[in-house]
Amino acid sequence: MEREHQIIQRVYEAKGDNRKADDLIRDYIPFIRSEASKCIGRVCTEQDDTYSIAMIAFHEAIQGYAKGRGAFLPYAALRIRSRIIDFQRKEARHQGDLSLHEESGEDGQSMLDTLADPRDHFEQTALRDATWQEIQELSAVMAEFGVSFSDVADHSPKQERTLEACGAAIRYAAENRALLEELLRTKKLPLAQLAAGSGAERKTLERHRKYVLAMLLIQTNGYEIIRGHLKRVLNRKGGMAG
């Protein structure tokens, strides 16, 4: 009983704190792996997709748990099982497809090994390192505003219309560099100007303030790779890349 109370307390603390959520998940990795193993009928390793799915299902259980709905661990176990079953059904649809990782000959080589790889691995690694560097820099700047990528993901627009409204504001800022400079200088989001210039509703921008902030920071100097990834956003409706 006392143990259950402790878990519930930790779950509620973890709901709004990613670090505490990670700590809780780390402590319950044996439980998570055990539930995943029961589902797939064999020992689940860290390399299995089901392991990753079980981990995220446990995280979802933390976010979705309510005290009045019973004990946490049975709820988490149910959530893990449901998620893995969903994944297995999805995978079953692709059973007829050939996997590049299947062994194709007697020498134990997979199909992937026999295919010529046109990519330059050194170039790939260099690009990934550069991207990593950009993301770290962006993360550091965002930290100055008190925002993390997890916060941004929590406030990211879900509906297409909202995404478009925010996109209009971002494009307007990309075309008016003075706004971006003002943002960096004052550390304040110029919501009124963004709303007036882009035609987006101020209330919509306020509701997704952290998202808009992250996207505007990306438009400032130094994040070419990330901006390259977001070409669809910036090129939409006559917008231009910064």
Binding site: N18, A21, D22, I25, R26, E46, Q47, D49, S52, I53, M55, I56, F58, H59, E60, Q63, G64, A66, K67, G68, R69, R83, F87, R128, D129, A130, T131, W132, Q133, E134, I135, Q136, S139, S148, F149, S150, V152, A153, S156, P157, L163, C166, G167, I170, Y211, A214, M215, I226, H229, L230, K231, R232, V233
Partner: protein, 273 residues
């Protein structure tokens, strides 16, 4: 769709898609800066039910209670019986089951005059009648030697019967010392009631009229011995043919030609064509 991995946690990773959405997805051994093409997105937790479901139950209970109270109130306010009081002003007084007046209406113009400005609410029938009679006296409608006619109407006959006596007595008591008035009470029930009163011939004055004395009404059973009908004993199998009618078709009324009418009598002013 390509996703750029932005942040990695133990249980999830934050990825950025090409349309600018930041998403939380299962961390399948991702590394920051990596680009992936397929993710398992984190599902939004169902909206937390905040343990205040009892509020809904309480609201439903309160609504039920209000409906019940309203129903009881409506039953209490529903007219159960009506008293038509006619002096010259005629008014209709509606009462509920507890004889509390729930409606008052002037039936004719004097009645409307009498009830104008009078507050009957939450008053008993007796009090309302007393006060209306007093107003009628003050307004000159009821005077010494006048008449008050009460007509009671209700589905419940018992109510009519009991109130016929009590209302009359109450009004008489109320008027004593003020003036003398005749109080007539008529009862009306919604169900038509047929009262059968057996009438003995000797005791009745039926037949005594300006047209002279009617012949006495006799019952067949009492004068059986003088009847033209023969007594039939048990086991008497004789046919009923002996009733006086002859088998040959002749009757005691004589031949048809002896009826007194001659064919010549049919002569009329109208001639046959």
């Amino acid at each position: 769709m390509k996703y750029l991995v932005m942040e990695c946690h133990l249980s999830y990773a934050v990825v950025l898609d090409e349309e600018g959405r930041f998403l939380k997805a299962a961390n399948r051994q991702y590394r920051v800066g990596q680009t992936v093409t397929e993710i398992i997105e984190m599902e939004a937790p169902p909206p937390a039910k905040n343990g205040k479901r009892w509020i809904y139950s309480l609201t439903a209970l309160a609504a039920c209670l209000m409906v019940m109270v309203t129903a009881v109130f409506q039953v209490a306010q529903a007219p159960f019986a009506s008293v038509y009081m006619s002096i010259n002003p005629e008014v209709r007084i509606d009462v509920n089951r507890r004889d509390v007046v729930v409606g008052l209406e002037g039936v004719n113009s004097d009645g409307q005059d009498l009830t104008q400005g009078y507050d009957f609410r939450k008053k008993d029938l007796d009090l309302v009648m007393d006060e209306l009679v007093d107003r009628a006296i003050d307004m000159g409608y009821l005077y010494d030697g006048g008449q008050i006619s009460l007509t009671l109407g209700a589905d419940d006959q018992e109510w009519v019967v009991t109130h016929s006596e009590t209302l009359s007595a109450h009004l008489s008591q109320h008027l004593s010392g003020k003036l003398s008035a005749t109080i007539l009470v008529n009862g009306q029930t919604a169900q038509s009631t047929q009262v059968v009163i057996p009438v003995e011939p000797g005791e009745s004055d039926y037949g005594m009229s300006d047209y002279g004395q009617a012949p006495p009404v006799t019952r067949p059973s009492e004068e059986g011995e003088d009847s033209d009908y023969e007594d039939r004993e048990e086991g008497d199998d004789r046919p009923y043919g002996d009733s006086g009618y002859q088998e040959d078709g002749q009757t005691d009324y004589g031949e048809p030609e002896d009826s007194g009418y001659d064919e010549d009598d049919f002569d009329s002013d109208y001639e046959k064509d």
